[in-house]
Amino acid sequence: MLALTGFAAGWHRGVPAVQDVDLELAEGRVLAVLGRNGAGKTTLVKGVLGLAPWRSGIVRLDGRRIDGWRPERIARAGIGFVPQGRGVFPGLTVEENLRLGALGSGRRRPEPALLARFPHLFERRDRPAEALSGGEQRQLSILRALAGRPRFLLLDEPSEGVQPTIVEAVAALLLELVEVDRLGILLVEQDLDLVLRVAHECLVLEDGRPVDWFSAAELAARPQRVEHYLGL
């Protein structure tokens, strides 16, 4: 269980970029975080990971406080991260990217089965990561995070700027991770279709604060409920 209580992080014009966040993420569940650009979604994720300055509140991983820890320690505690954008180590090959993911959790090599999840990446394993297409880099970023065998995965807009076939492949992978591997996933996303496919619950942020919270079923029934939050 990953639990946030009264969490605030980041800094934006003299106030925390995100604040008053309470949420619980259990294994085998997907929580989507919605909101406009600048609503504080990325800061929330980065704050949990220790990459954005923590301001106040409590973050618990299985009851153990991890707020204020260094990012590498939080990662090693079992929280994987797929950042916005490319999210790969430029200048390193596909295989080296994955090996770094494994090394980050104290393993020498990633499991061989990992690359099998995206066979076209396996074919390109000796290529430099920046030579891949944007969608392939996103997939590599997810595999790199999985190579550390996290129990929770935080993804920041994995569908952004990626062609639909890859979004489809990512969605399938996320579902498998949740249902088979029982990962807990926190998904920052603007793409409602992807959210509807994988999420169990949704949290809406506006101006750095949570303003709404509903189940995926409610969202499926009335998608227009979030449209004005997203500015659609």
């Binding site: 990971l49 990662a75 180590f89 770094l100």
Partner: protein, 285 residues
């Protein structure tokens, strides 16, 4: 005639490879990690003086050569943890701070060992005949050592998990941390390794020159230039950079005065950087 030519070539190769040995540490700390350590020349000095001190303690030459880099590596580790880490996001300040550290080290050496020069006896004083000229064996040893250290550094960076983690941290620090890599320890270790290379260079070249508090300066600047003009960061590029800088300076010095040779090398380096500007500094604009 042949003997003269052989001597010029050997001296040039010697200069290039000695420079490579000094520049190699910078290739790691400056070329790869992007830290301008102005105390690098003093680390070179520390290596030479550590060698002197260890010999005084009765340890033989080889122990000195082995332990001096360990000592200087530890100094580099301390510098990273105490100074450089705290001002990571202020690169110009780290230049000033490391310069201050260098000044303090040099002056501490003067206070401990006096301003006069010391000597370290080479382990083999023999010469060997090459193409009609006789050449000191120890110089050949230093050249071989430079090549071996370069090869080892390349292997370390490209073929070991440690090297991979260092390259990952350099490529994207935040991502490396979020992946769980111990970025702080990697910074300190990589910096210590680069410093240890400077110590090795000082300890290895100590028998070739008079060991005095000013000895670091002569190598530091061409070493920095070598890393600057290197076509790629890391050890491979530095081999080329050292060859260009050391080779041209050494060859030019056979024709013109050393000062003019240095001016020529500087002008050449500026020219090279200008030509490469679009590629390497294009991002800044």
């Amino acid at each position: 005639m042949l003997a003269d030519l052989a001597l010029v070539l050997l001296d040039t190769a010697n200069r290039v490879l000695t420079l490579l040995l000094v520049a190699l540490g910078l290739a790691v700390t400056f070329g790869l990690m992007g830290i301008v350590n102005l105390a690098h020349g003093e680390f070179f000095l520390l290596g030479a003086y550590a060698h002197v001190a260890l010999e005084r303690l009765g340890l033989g030459f080889w122990w000195g050569l082995l332990l001096a880099p360990v000592f200087v590596g530890a100094a580099g580790w301390i510098l990273e943890v105490v100074v450089i880490r705290r001002i990571q996001d202020r690169p110009l300040d780290s230049l000033v701070a490391t310069w201050g550290v260098g000044l303090a080290i040099k002056q501490a050496v003067v206070l401990l060992f006096g301003p006069a020069s010391h000597t370290v006896a080479p382990p083999f004083a023999t010469t060997v005949a090459i193409a009609g000229t006789s050449y000191p064996v120890y110089r050949l040893f230093v050249m071989a050592l430079a090549l071996a250290a370069t090869g080892l550094t390349i292997l370390l960076l490209l073929r070991t998990p440690f090297g991979l983690m260092v390259r990952g941290t350099v490529a994207d620090r935040g991502l490396a941390a979020a992946t769980g890599l111990p970025v702080r320890r990697l910074d300190a270790l990589a910096f210590a390794y680069g410093s240890a290379l400077a110590g090795l260079a000082g300890a290895a070249t100590a028998p070739l020159m008079s060991v005095d508090p000013q000895m670091g300066v002569g190598f530091l600047l061409p070493a920095f230039l070598s890393v600057l003009v290197a076509p790629a960061s890391g050890a491979f590029g530095t081999v080329v950079g050292a060859a260009v800088v050391g080779g041209s300076e050494s060859l030019a010095a056979t024709v013109v005065s050393p000062v003019v040779a240095q001016l020529l090398v500087l002008a050449g380096a500026v020219l090279l950087l200008r030509l490469a500007a679009g590629r390497r500094y294009g991002r800044e604009r």
